[in-house]
């Protein structure tokens, strides 16, 4: 303790205190930060019904109306089709937790069977795109390069060159496409969830969609290559600039400090 108090005025004391304070704040934050998982589980308990309509009445009717006609809180579901239901529910976007600029992706709480029942119910309200079959979205054999060009024409403006996501107006955003199931990518293009425009088969054919999925599979999946090394988020010059400043110039300055520092003297006072 005596040693400690003697060093209280050491020039580096302030730095040490700051580091401790930062570490403590961070630690406390992780302790008290809200746990999303618990909430999701809680909602899960209330969903034990296994028929589409009943599922709908419990999970969806409060916003979309008892017959899917829509309310001020949620749009009409007549004619959105099974594909939209499959996308929204299976990616966890629906049911939404709270209204906001955009409903985020979260953990899905329905089984595929329940989703199918829900989808069947919504599809019965009005004709719409049906859930794609596997050979529609399976990227095997598709033209990756053609998909790349289509992606840059139709998708990159919101989702970035390789699907890392990007900003839209007033807090909305185009989400990252990393690890998104090909089926869901297909459904999103077909149905245009939330503010995303749709790309029906008349403007973006089935083959086009398949090519796009194949391109994403090649450049934005866990097996995608980044020949040059760390991808730095794939965000372009902003992350490259930050990396260059912090690790590039920062590292070189650390080296410079070593080069210019005085060598230890024989007798230390």
């Amino acid at each position: 303790m005596k040693k400690l108090s003697a060093r209280r005025r050491h020039p580096l004391a302030a730095v040490v205190v700051l580091l401790i304070a930062l570490a403590a704040t961070g630690g406390l934050y992780t302790l008290f930060a809200p746990a999303d998982k618990a909430k999701a589980d809680e909602t899960a308990q209330s969903l034990a019904i296994d028929e589409g309509k009943k599922l709908y009445a419990v999970g969806c009717a409060s916003c979309h109306g008892t017959g899917g006609q829509g309310t001020t809180d949620g749009p009409s579901l007549v004619g959105v089709g099974a594909a939209a239901v499959d996308f929204q529910v299976a990616t966890g976007r629906m049911p939404a937790q709270q209204p906001g600029a955009q409903v985020p992706k979260k953990r899905n709480i329905y089984s595929q069977a329940e989703i199918d029942q829900l989808a069947a119910y919504i599809a019965s309200l009005g004709a719409g795109p049906s859930v794609p079959t596997e050979n529609q979205y399976n990227p095997e054999g598709a033209d990756i390069a053609e998909g790349g060009e289509l992606f840059r024409t139709n998708c990159a403006q919101c989702h970035n060159f390789t699907g890392k996501g990007g900003a839209l107006t007033t807090g909305k955003y185009a989400p990252t496409l990393e690890d998104v199931d090909p089926k869901h990518i297909y459904e999103a293009m077909q149905t245009g969830p939330q503010n995303m425009p749709s790309f029906p088969d008349t403007t973006l054919t089935e083959k086009n969609k398949k090519d796009i999925i194949a391109y994403l599979d090649a450049v934005n999946s866990d097996k995608s290559e980044s020949p040059g090394g760390l991808e730095l988020g794939g965000l372009g010059p902003v992350s490259e600039g930050l990396f260059g400043w912090i690790f590039g110039l920062g590292g070189l300055i650390a080296v410079a400090v070593w080069v210019a520092a005085r060598t230890a003297k024989a007798k230390k006072s």
């Binding site: 289509l150 024409t153 139709n154 403006q157 919101c158 990007g166 839209l168 107006t169 909305k172 185009a174 245009g192 939330q194 503010n195 995303m196 425009p197 749709s198 790309f199 029906p200 008349t202 403007t203 973006l204 054919t205 086009n208 097996k223 995608s224 290559e225 980044s226 020949p227 040059g228 090394g229 760390l230 991808e231 070593w258 080069v259 520092a261 005085r262 060598t263 230890a264 003297k265 024989a266 007798k267």
Partner: protein, 355 residues
């Protein structure tokens, strides 16, 4: 010499006389308690007094130089042995090019070790006695200055440049004119603007061709909430002037519920709620197309200009100065969407002659 309007006394006094010259140790406390104590005596490093420590340093330096040699050998070996397209997984870098990683690391180590060895050598084994060098004023002595001025005057006088005005004036004239040749030569860098920025490939009867499928569009192809990009019929990607033409003609097509269209002219120029707007931002020309189908807003990814497609593509946020130009469209006899003319105003960024 000093500035004509600064009184000398406003400048801080030159360092007091008791501030010692470098090296001379003043006696502290006698006159000025803050006097410069002079260079502190040199202290020895471990390497200066302990030969074993010096040997250790020597070995460390030699080790680094040796490591550098080994790294160079490894660089050449990797260059020969590693295939250019081989990919390896390196945590936490991901799936990266094996050759790039191997070459970069070996080259890096080879270079870094030379540097580290040299610096360690300088820091531990070369003399670390601090030396002082005198500075000398940069300004020349007054005699030198006077001599230069005299020489210059003499030279100027001998040239008679001031006296023979005719020579002087014609020379200046010639020197001023001669660079003009260079400027004139630049003329053929490009054509004059004329009205090139005012016209696009669109004209009456041109079909709207889907960018993705290369097929002409029918109204039924365009659903509410969808987004379609189109080019004028006849423009192909292989065409010589494709880039220049698409840079002006690129089209963005969306379908709104006619009752949602607030702008009267927009409704008139649309077909069953299908509206066609230039895809080129009116700010600095990015292909704008971040269409939000629920708000009908289009955002530019470059500088965030936001346009409201349901209200004549008016600017609602950001640095763009005017609305996106709309293309007037209709349907031909065969039921395909067609243009009813060119854009009525220049597309893309504003310019001085735009008016």
């Amino acid at each position: 010499m000093s500035s004509q309007d600064t009184p000398e006394e406003n400048l801080p006094a030159e360092r007091a006389a008791d501030d010692s010259e470098h090296g001379a140790v003043a006696v502290p406390g006698e006159k000025n308690p803050f006097a410069d104590p002079g260079l502190p005596p040199h202290e020895h490093r471990i390497q200066d007094i302990d030969e074993r420590a010096a040997r250790r340093s020597e070995r460390a330096v030699a080790f680094m130089f040796t490591l550098s040699m080994l790294a160079t050998v490894a660089f050449i070996a990797s260059f020969v042995a590693v295939p250019v397209d081989k990919s390896i997984y390196v945590f936490p870098l991901g799936h990266i090019s094996a050759l790039n990683f191997a070459l970069g690391m070996t080259l890096g180590v080879a270079l870094f070790c030379i540097g580290a060895g040299a610096v360690h050598w300088a820091r531990t084994l070369m003399s670390d006695v601090e030396l002082a060098d005198d500075r000398h004023a940069i300004e020349a002595e007054p005699e030198v200055r006077a001599k230069v001025m005299d020489d210059f005057r003499q030279g100027a006088k001998e040239s008679a440049l001031g006296r023979r005005k005719l020579i002087r004036n014609t020379m200046f004239g010639a020197l001023t004119l001669v660079p003009l040749s260079g400027v004139v030569l630049l003329r053929d860098l490009g054509p004059l603007p004329e009205d090139k920025l005012r016209h696009t490939l669109w004209r009456k009867g041109k079909l709207l061709v889907n960018m993705n499928t290369d097929e002409p569009l029918r109204p039924s192809d365009v659903a509410v909430g969808s987004l379609t990009f189109a080019k004028p019929e006849g423009l192909e990607e292989h065409d010589h002037d494709f880039q220049n033409e698409i840079a002006k003609a690129a089209l963005m097509i969306v379908r709104l519920q006619p009752e949602n269209i607030k702008d009267k002219r927009e409704l008139e120029w649309s077909h069953e709620g299908i509206v066609a707007y230039s895809k080129i931002c009116t700010h600095v020309g990015c292909p704008i197309s971040l269409y939000e189908q629920q708000t009908h807003h289009v955002l530019c990814p470059c500088h965030q200009s936001t346009f409201d497609l349901s209200d004549g593509a008016r600017v609602i946020f950001g640095p763009a100065g005017h609305a996106l130009p709309q293309l007037r469209i209709g349907v031909n006899d065969e039921g395909y969407l067609e243009a009813l003319g060119d854009f009525e105003e220049p597309v893309g960024p504003a310019f001085w002659e735009r008016g």
